[in-house]
């Protein structure tokens, strides 16, 4: 009997290469005659370009070419809209996309103005200093509210204002509900998410083979298929003549999917133009301005409640920072808008947002993708309501949870996948109970906290709930094939940035086909290996690609059984697949190896009957009609030094429900990593722009990523409420850890320091010791 692989905490297939330094990342690609690119980026946030003089750069020894917007011919055009806005009534959406190089004016610090191709990156950077750009500064648009004020400078002159989008979604009738409410709370919130900052920055290597008329591109992208399709279209090539490879990628988290980055177009074009391979590797300084961010929103929100804390409705009006262009549509603010509803029954909802153009880098999804902002608003409103109504913070949440018998639960507004926001399944109260028990909530508040206070220690507890819409379409596909050597290959179109696909996908196939997990070889991220797909984003890899792989595995299993039944002259039901062999149940000694069966299925003679296929192979696709909703509760106990405002996390608990779990070890890693990013977002990472649009926190010494001393040991637990939307019952989990950490910190710090007694409320993220001190000092002064 074999052990079931699905659901087991199996160590990863991909580790050995990574641990011994043998895995290929984009910067490891070395090609003969390879050239190196560097980009000249705007030093100003908003300016007219009067003149660019590249003559000195072109004359420098070792420089092969320098291109500006005027030099790239038809390649110069604004890029496509990647994600259209959802079909919401009355929506305003003003599409403004970036071109590969700036022409006429620049709209953010870091916007590419010219590209230098040279024999080495060192020489290319030398040449950047040779380029003279005359610019006339324009007033930069930095602050969201000032951007909308009359007379504000315009990021896009032809637009007449700085509005990227205006979207209102409602359900029920908030105004009427509020009129009948016992209690209304109104607050303004500021939530700033920050940037993904993976340890590997972006990179592109392009190799044009003029004789073969074939382009190969290595790209740190999360969406190789889309990049292949877009490059083919932009460069006038057939899709079959373009191969995009996303090899091992050192962390994605969202922004590595934003395409087309200028470099993704310019570097392949340069390779074709110069007929030599070209490499561009983003350095860390560039990364701060050249890769997308997910930044801030300002929410004016109100919640209407009954006196026993039941939510009657929520109204929210918010501004969203889009950055200088909006090629990625409205995913982030739509997620904020939808995820604010959380796991709660909110019968009436009126949410309006204005996405604003600013002179800053483009905003696209980063782990959480706008959910954080919405979750912060609702969780804080509930905390303030709890305080004002005299209800315990956990209790007010419990009273509003969607009951277990209410699923599927239709929230009626439109989600990022264009489908109505309907939660497929969920059982929320046990998750809250487990979290409260694990953190010792009751006992802490009743006994421990007073005892610690008496000792002069400021310890607080917090609990926050959230849902996460995951596993959206459009689809993914997979090809599964038993090879002649008995190993099973799996190819799928998505890419991998560390999520363990080489293992979790192998576990699915291992069970279907009866082979050891280590005999399943997964290929991802290579458009020559699998033609179709969308990409790795929105916590969808396991759900969508995983289910496609499962379907393909089932189909291959059927082929194996059919062929083996012919071989053994028995019924298919009598067969057992295990350890890479097929045998009749009860007769293990007489087995046929899968590899032999595969060879039999691909004969040199005989006939492959019409309507059948050679080999033991199947390609299947999976496209969920809508996303699957995961949920969770985080709880934290924190001690705050009242003088320095430094804090120490004493205990951190996550209870999570992502349906059926493929590999609990990998899942735990995803939660840990998400929480670490959430901690960074809540208390360490801040993108600080001055009023000229200059990013002041533009090195890793200033933009603070949490270290091993800043992230606590976490206790994880989970419940399993399978999704009815896919045969495996799984929901996504990639972003869960990052979502509720902001409000968790705010709540815990308020509790630790007794801030409600000082009339100090924490309504912004990120926080920091200095900011806390200011807020409290001002509060004391009142």
């Amino acid at each position: 009997m074999t052990t079931r692989a699905f659901g087991a905490p199996i160590p990863r297939n991909e580790d050995a290469r990574l641990l011994t330094g043998q895995a290929l990342f984009v910067d490891d690609v070395e090609l003969p005659d390879m050239l190196h690119a560097a980009l000249l980026r705007s030093p100003l946030a908003h300016a007219h370009i009067e003149r660019i003089d590249v003559s000195a750069a072109r004359a420098r020894k070792g420089v092969i070419a320098v291109y500006t917007a005027d030099d790239i011919g038809a390649l110069w055009r604004p890029g496509p809209l990647l994600v259209p806005p959802p079909p919401i009534d009355g929506i305003t959406f003003n599409l403004r996309t970036h071109a590969p190089l700036a022409k006429g004016k620049v709209r953010y610090v870091g916007e590419p103005i010219a590209i230098v191709i040279a024999e080495s990156r060192y020489i290319a950077e030398d040449a950047l200093a040779d380029i003279i750009v005359d610019m006339t500064p324009l007033p930069p648009v930095v602050d969201l509210e000032q951007a909308l004020a009359k007379g504000a400078a315009l990021v896009h002159d032809d637009l007449g204002n700085n509005i990227a989008a205006h979207v209102r979604q409602t359900k029920g009738d908030y105004a009427t509900a509020a009129a009948k409410a016992d209690h209304i709370i109104r607050r303004r919130f500021h939530y700033d998410h920050g940037m993904s900052s993976p340890i590997e920055t972006r990179g592109v290597v392009a190799q044009w083979d003029a004789r073969a008329h074939h382009l190969t591109v290595w790209d740190t992208t999360q969406a190789p298929v889309f990049v292949r399709n877009g490059l083919a279209a932009q460069l006038g090539l057939s899709e079959r003549n373009v191969r995009v490879i996303a090899p091992f990628v050192g962390g994605g988290f969202g922004p590595k999917i934003m395409m087309f980055y200028p470099e993704e177009i310019l570097v392949p074009w340069a390779s074709m133009t110069l007929n030599r391979p070209v490499k561009w590797i983003e350095d860390r300084l560039e990364h701060f301005v050249a890769t997308t961010h997910e930044r801030g929103q300002i929410h004016d929100a109100e919640i209407a409640l009954s006196k026993d804390g039941k939510i009657l409705g929520v109204k929210d009006v918010f501004l969203h920072d889009s950055g200088a262009y909006d090629p990625y549509g409205l995913t982030v603010p739509i997620n904020s808008q939808c995820t604010l509803l959380g796991p709660y029954v909110i019968p009436h909802y009126d949410s309006t947002f204005t996405a604003v153009f600013t002179c800053k880098p483009i905003v696209t999804p980063y782990r959480g993708a706008g959910r954080q902002h919405g979750v912060f608003v609702i969780e804080r409103l509930l905390d303030f309501a709890a305080h004002e109504l005299g209800i315990d913070r956990a209790e007010i949440r419990r009273r509003n949870l969607i009951p277990a018998d209410a699923f599927p639960y239709d929230n009626k507004i439109i989600y990022q996948d264009f489908a109505p926001l309907e939660y497929d399944s969920g059982n929320y109260e046990p998750v809250l109970d487990k979290a409260l028990a694990a953190i010792g909530y009751q006992d802490f508040i009743a006994t421990e906290q007073p005892r610690l206070r008496a000792q002069g220690r400021h310890v607080g507890v917090a609990v926050c709930c959230y849902v996460e819409g995951t596993g959206i379409g459009p689809y993914e596909g997979a090809k599964v094939q038993v090879q002649a050597n008995g190993k099973v290959s799996v190819a799928t179109g998505i890419g991998t940035q560390g999520q363990g696909h080489f293992t979790s996908f192998a576990q699915i196939i291992a069970d279907q086909v009866g082979v050891p997990v280590t005999d399943v070889e997964v290929v991802t991220g290579d458009t020559d290996q699998f033609y179709w797909g969308a990409g790795t984003f929105a916590s969808r890899g396991a759900v969508v690609a995983g289910n496609a792989i499962n379907e393909a595995g089932k189909a291959v299993r059927l082929k194996i059984l059919k062929l083996a039944a012919e071989h053994f002259e028995c019924a298919e039901e009598d067969l057992v697949l295990a350890n890479g062999e097929v045998s009749i149940a009860g007769v293990p000694g007489n087995a046929v190896k899968l590899g032999d069966l595969a060879m039999r299925a691909n004969p040199m003679r005989g006939a492959v009957k019409p309507g059948t296929e050679p080999g033991l192979e199947s390609t299947q696709y999976f496209g969920p009609p809508k996303g699957a909703t995961a949920n969770g509760v985080h709880a934290m106990m924190v001690e705050v030094d009242p003088d320095t405002l430094l804090l120490n996390i004493l205990k951190y608990v996550v209870v999570h429900d992502c349906g059926t779990v493929i590999n609990p070890l990998i899942l735990a890693g995803q939660i840990h990593g998400g929480v670490a990013q959430g901690i960074g977002n809540a208390f360490y990472e801040q993108l600080v722009f001055d009023d000229q649009g200059q990013l002041l926190t533009a090195t890793l010494a200033d933009y603070l990523l949490p270290s091993s001393l800043d992230v606590p040991r976490m206790e994880l637990d989970h419940t399993v409420t399978p999704s009815p939307l896919n045969p495996m019952g799984i929901k996504g989990a990639g972003e869960a850890g990052a979502i509720p950490v902001g409000p968790l910190f705010a709540q815990a710090i308020e509790d630790a320091l007794g801030l409600s007694k000082k009339n100090v409320e924490l309504r912004e993220i990120p926080l920091s010791p200095s900011r806390l001190w200011e807020l409290i000092a001002v509060g004391d002064a009142k």
Binding site: E125, T699, L704, W773
Partner: protein, 291 residues
């Protein structure tokens, strides 16, 4: 982020290094540990024409005592050596206590005390310690040498009084005497980051446990390390030591003009300085009184 071109010369000994510096002046920089210098080269914030590698100057590394009263540390002594030195632990407890706060082990394997002091980052720990202890720094050039009191060494952020042809070769600190107590403390965002504020305190007591001298300096709250010894002096000979410590903290608030930065507002830095005084002084006094 690749550095601009430079000419690299590995100096064989001190005379060679000084001759090269005399020849190239401001166009040349000394490369010691490189942990502060190389990032500035990679950012192209600094673009020296010549880099003089002084890592082979073994004679300028090492710790020895002089006359039992002074400790001399060669400028090329690496943090790692300081961490493992019993001389430092016994004779310069402030340095010993500060070292875990300085960057991270990989940095400490290469960085040198001379490099750190010459770099003169006002948020750096060692300049404040050298100032608090009233140490002096030895500078040499091809044409001469001099001892510079710590109070004259640090001029402004990243600028010392070293002339274009001088190299810092040695640091001299008073050896910790009997009945002395020290405390180094800092508040940083993460372990190893530069301090938002940090304090180095040295006190001496008499046989009866009365405080006879206090010296102190802050890092991170000014353009250079700030000597706050005169503000702390009132703690000596005070009948109400607890009250005097509070007054000393308040006096320190008056003394300093923190500039603030992206991680800490000026007001918060000023507040932290007071907190560090109120926490650090009692610890130093306790150590002086009870070893």
């Amino acid at each position: 982020m690749k550095p601009a071109p430079f000419k690299y010369i590995a100096a064989k000994n001190l005379d060679h290094a000084l001759a090269l510096k005399a020849e190239h002046g401001e166009e040349a920089r000394f490369l010691a540990g490189g942990q502060s210098l190389v990032p500035t080269l990679n950012f192209r914030l600094a673009q020296p024409a010549v880099l003089i590698d002084i890592n082979m100057l073994d004679a300028q590394a090492g710790i020895h005592r002089v006359n039992g009263h002074a400790l001399r540390i060669g400028a090329l002594t690496r943090y790692r050596t300081l961490e493992r030195s019993t001389d430092i632990a016994e004779a310069a407890p402030l340095i010993h206590e500060a070292l875990p706060h300085i960057a991270h082990p990989q940095i400490r394997n290469r960085g040198t005390i001379g490099g750190n002091l010459s770099h003169a980052d006002p948020a750096s720990e060692l300049p404040a310690i050298v100032l608090a202890l009233g140490g002096r720094l030895h500078a040499q050039s091809a044409t001469g040498e001099r001892w510079i009191p710590a109070r004259d060494f640090f001029l402004s952020p990243l600028t010392t009084c070293l002339a274009a042809d001088e190299m810092l070769t040695e640091i001299e600190l008073p050896v910790a005497g009997p009945r002395s107590g020290f405390c180094f403390m800092e508040v940083a965002r993460r372990r190893g980051d530069f301090a938002m504020a940090g304090v180095a305190i040295a006190v001496t007591c008499d046989a009866q446990g009365r405080c006879t001298s206090v010296r102190g300096a802050l890092c991170g709250v000014g353009d250079t390390p700030v000597d706050v010894s005169s503000a702390l002096a009132q703690v000596c000979g005070s009948a109400d030591e607890v009250g005097a410590i509070k007054d000393a903290a308040a006096a320190v608030w008056e003394t300093i003009e923190p500039g603030g930065n992206v991680h800490a507002s000026a007001a918060y830095q000023r507040h932290l300085a007071g907190v560090l005084i109120e926490r650090g002084l009692p610890i130093a006094l306790e150590r002086a009184r009870h070893g």
